[in-house]
């Protein structure tokens, strides 16, 4: 691990950190893939599939890196397909079922806005692998954020029904926002390498609030918020997602095509 600044003590933190970011991308890619052939338009099928593939590419880099740093011989496939629920480190936001198109776009707006700030910050990481990934991925996620922003505005500032459903979708996903910025032990152990999640919130808030204002939507005031995804605690949604995602690999270990 010559290009990593981490010694053995922080190698575990670096592996955990990369795994968390990789799991976010992997699980959301799986969720978006569920839309294929169900989107409102074939053009939107392609757009969602495109976003999903961008995320899958990020997940592959991050999970391979997590496995390499961990040094236990686990590759991307083993990490994606052979871990159980409690070993996944993604935030709860990406686990939320797709719901209607408004829920999917609300989830995408909040998550992509987070990834934009995250990767912009990671471009300055002293870890060359993370910085390199971030420099490439930041262009992808700016487009994801734009796509979601466009749809949130059209639905929020559209008809009475589309407005009501977009607002309901926002209410549905907002309890998962705080967790994005919760303190993360792995990130805290990697100064200069990782980005402090809390530091991303001001820019995230500025972007999202401007998007909501342009869509005539109201920022929800949730009564609870999710936490703990980064330490392996998840909503029941992940328990339903994983068997479908992992079925093929577990039935045919080592299968390739």
């Amino acid at each position: 691990m010559s290009d990593s600044p981490a010694g053995t003590s922080s190698a575990a933190a670096l592996s955990t950190y990369a795994m968390g970011l990789g799991d976010d991308a992997l699980i959301l890619a799986q969720r978006l893939g569920e839309w294929i052939t169900w989107a409102p338009q074939i053009e939107e099928d392609v757009a969602l599939g495109n976003i999903a593939l961008d995320l899958l590419g990020q997940a592959r880099t991050l999970l391979n890196y997590a496995g390499e740093v961990e040094g236990a011989g686990r590759d991307e496939d083993e990490l994606a397909f052979l871990r159980d629920e409690r070993a996944f480190r993604n935030v709860w936001l990406v686990e939320i079922p797709n719901g209607d198109f408004a829920v999917t776009m609300a989830r995408q707006l909040l998550f992509s806005a987070y990834q934009c700030e995250l990767y912009a910050g990671l471009e300055d990481s002293i870890d060359v692998t993370l910085a390199g990934l971030a420099a490439k991925a930041v262009k992808e996620v700016y487009y994801h954020r734009d796509h979601a922003t466009q749809w949130v505005r059209r639905l929020g500032d559209g008809t009475d029904e589309s407005h009501a459903r977009m607002q309901a979708a926002l209410d549905r996903v907002w309890p998962y926002v705080d967790e994005l910025f919760d303190t993360d032990d792995a990130a805290a152990a990697l100064p200069g390498v990782a980005v402090d999640p809390a530091s991303l919130r001001p820019a995230w808030t500025e972007y999202v609030e401007r998007a909501l204002a342009g869509a005539t939507l109201t920022r929800p005031e949730p009564k609870w918020h999710s936490r703990g995804g980064r330490t392996g605690y998840h909503s029941e949604n992940l328990g339903h997602l994983l068997p479908e995602m992992q079925a093929l690999h577990r039935a045919h270990p080592g299968a390739t095509w």
Partner: protein, 94 residues
């Protein structure tokens, strides 16, 4: 399935210096989304550096029935082509 979304014609410029080429069409609710859909449908593999979309309804097109009056008269007038003329001797740089 009729979607109610209008049709858009998509033009891609492959690289600087070339003209935009028509590549196909797609549905989108408005021009902004048409551009984004065009990006996803037609330029995912590095095909272009610039995109135009034009509402198909805004294109004025010649009709197939007018094909003969429009194009036939061009066929038998060889003198409209520069190759019809002999270049006089002694004319340089032509």
């Amino acid at each position: 399935m009729s979607t109610g979304w209008p049709l858009w014609e998509v033009f891609v410029r492959a690289r600087r210096g070339l003209a935009h080429q028509h590549v196909g069409s797609l549905h989108a609710p408005d021009a902004e989304m048409a551009l984004r859909n065009a990006r996803d449908v037609y330029t995912r593999r590095g095909e272009g550096v610039s995109l135009w979309v034009v509402a198909s309804a805004d294109i004025a097109a010649s009709s197939p029935e007018e094909k003969d009056p429009f194009f036939e008269p061009a066929m038998d007038k060889a003198y409209r082509h520069p190759t019809f003329y002999d270049v006089p001797e002694g004319v340089a740089h032509l």
